[in-house]
Point group: C2
Chain length 315, copies 2
Amino acid sequence: MQNRLTIKDIARLSGVGKSTVSRVLNNESGVSERTRERVEAVVNQHGFSPSRSARAMRGQSDKVVAIIVSRLDSLSENLAVQTMLPTFYEQGYDPIMMESQFSPDLVEEHLHMLRRRNIDGVVLFGFTGVTEKLLSSWRASLVLLARDAKGFASVCYDDEGAINLLMQNLYDQGHRHISFIGVPHSDITTGKRRHEAYLAFCERHQLTPNFILPGLAMKHGYDNVASVLTPDTSALLCATDTLALGASKYLQEQRIDNLQLASVGNTPLMKFLHPEIVTVDPGYAEAGRQAAAQLIDQVNGRTDPRQIVIPAHLA
Amino acid sequence: MQNRLTIKDIARLSGVGKSTVSRVLNNESGVSERTRERVEAVVNQHGFSPSRSARAMRGQSDKVVAIIVSRLDSLSENLAVQTMLPTFYEQGYDPIMMESQFSPDLVEEHLHMLRRRNIDGVVLFGFTGVTEKLLSSWRASLVLLARDAKGFASVCYDDEGAINLLMQNLYDQGHRHISFIGVPHSDITTGKRRHEAYLAFCERHQLTPNFILPGLAMKHGYDNVASVLTPDTSALLCATDTLALGASKYLQEQRIDNLQLASVGNTPLMKFLHPEIVTVDPGYAEAGRQAAAQLIDQVNGRTDPRQIVIPAHLA
DNA sequence: CTGTTAGCGCGTTCAT
DNA sequence: ATGAACGCGCTAACAG
């Protein structure tokens, strides 16, 4: 690059020593107000900013974090990343992005690369197959998103709360035959927890459950709606908006418009394609913020790994 | 971080000098085959990799690039980013992500921050309002995507070719009344170029154009389909798949199923929601690869900024 | 309060 | 072909 000026130049220009400039730059105490002001003036005047690399070499931290999403085009993950980025930038962290494509092997590969790069921390969007063993060496500098694991920091959605909110809403609307379409239990959060919350609600209110757990692709929703519809069914609850998208397509094709749709997930696309849907926002935006904040606190030793649950709310 | 070993340790462990290790690491000539092998053995054995920051400090490049997307949830941009990431990683570049939200001010702000970080290069997804002036200081280290600007490297889609492909396909299917829904001319590529290609095709084949240019939101598609439908209309061409998504929703609601839909853009979602659509793939994946490759070549002084056009092809 | 000195890990002369 | 010495820009330890 060109002749960027250095801390030394600033020192010369403001007639002080390098260390004083350094102190000012880092807001350290022990600098007279007058000197501080003078140095700051020169710094601003020249738009000086210290070299990241040099800093990193001394401080041992290059202020870089990684965000590993499952897929770049995941609607829900995008909403979380969207709030994560500004949070990182505000704190001076550069977030680099990676895609896991739901492959534990890829995650491992990425983590390896990150280890060698001496990165500060990682936000990992969890999925079935990401084991604790895989992450063990990152305990101190990892935040798991949408998943929890013992001993790891995590930001989770309130699966049970979300389903309850939705069920209660449907129930209050008078629905008594609510079918459920979800994800297999191999997926703990989106699969097991949401399904069980559905079952529990049914039991509490003496409703007859009617469900299927095909998977989390849109096509799964589309292909399986029919199988949970009875003549009585008046509402359909989907574990994710992706499933709801598939279900919605089926319903509109079949011209079934007397079925109240509901889903977890508050993505703009869903709202556009099927405005009549009832959704809960699992708090994607808030989750992104918290995950970033937690990671930063953690790598700075301000807090230990802890598990955060984001409360869901009706959209 | 903890006691990562340094080039010095490797030197000691393999019984050579630091400089020799450095030479091996950088594949420089002037090292005997035997020594090289010995050093490489030690390096691999300990999984050693040189400190990025220290390297950056000497070499002036920290091997970090930025990707500024308009929106994280842009379907088309995602497809390009998806191929960009691996390309950057292969070459040892860390890609950090930013969102412009279609705001020139935000772009400017981000570029400022990147300048101060002494970043190597930027891939910027262009949009209306991004002026050459805004980018002038990045001439050498910027690749514009989906937009071109004089003097800047760019990777563009072949708007005219894409429309022609689609129109020809519809024409060959026997359609003679093809309506068009697009984007205002203030958007040069997606708006003006695609619209003009449509008009030109109509003129060449003596078709009567029937179009509207409401904007690029889904709702624009949804709200405006009706206005371009005549009793004769047998096909509808959409400038983008986002518009097509909106149009598709309208058509399905109105139970209009004798209208052939076509659009530029080959996103999985579109294909799922409306399988009967004819699409051209503008070459998002290829664009991502090329953009990354061009940027890398450029920042390494291997090539000057140049304008690349990706050929479109029927999906 | 402030300036001076000594490295951090690496690439780069310059001798050998 | 190889090693010793120097310095990149910065922070930390030590003097004053």
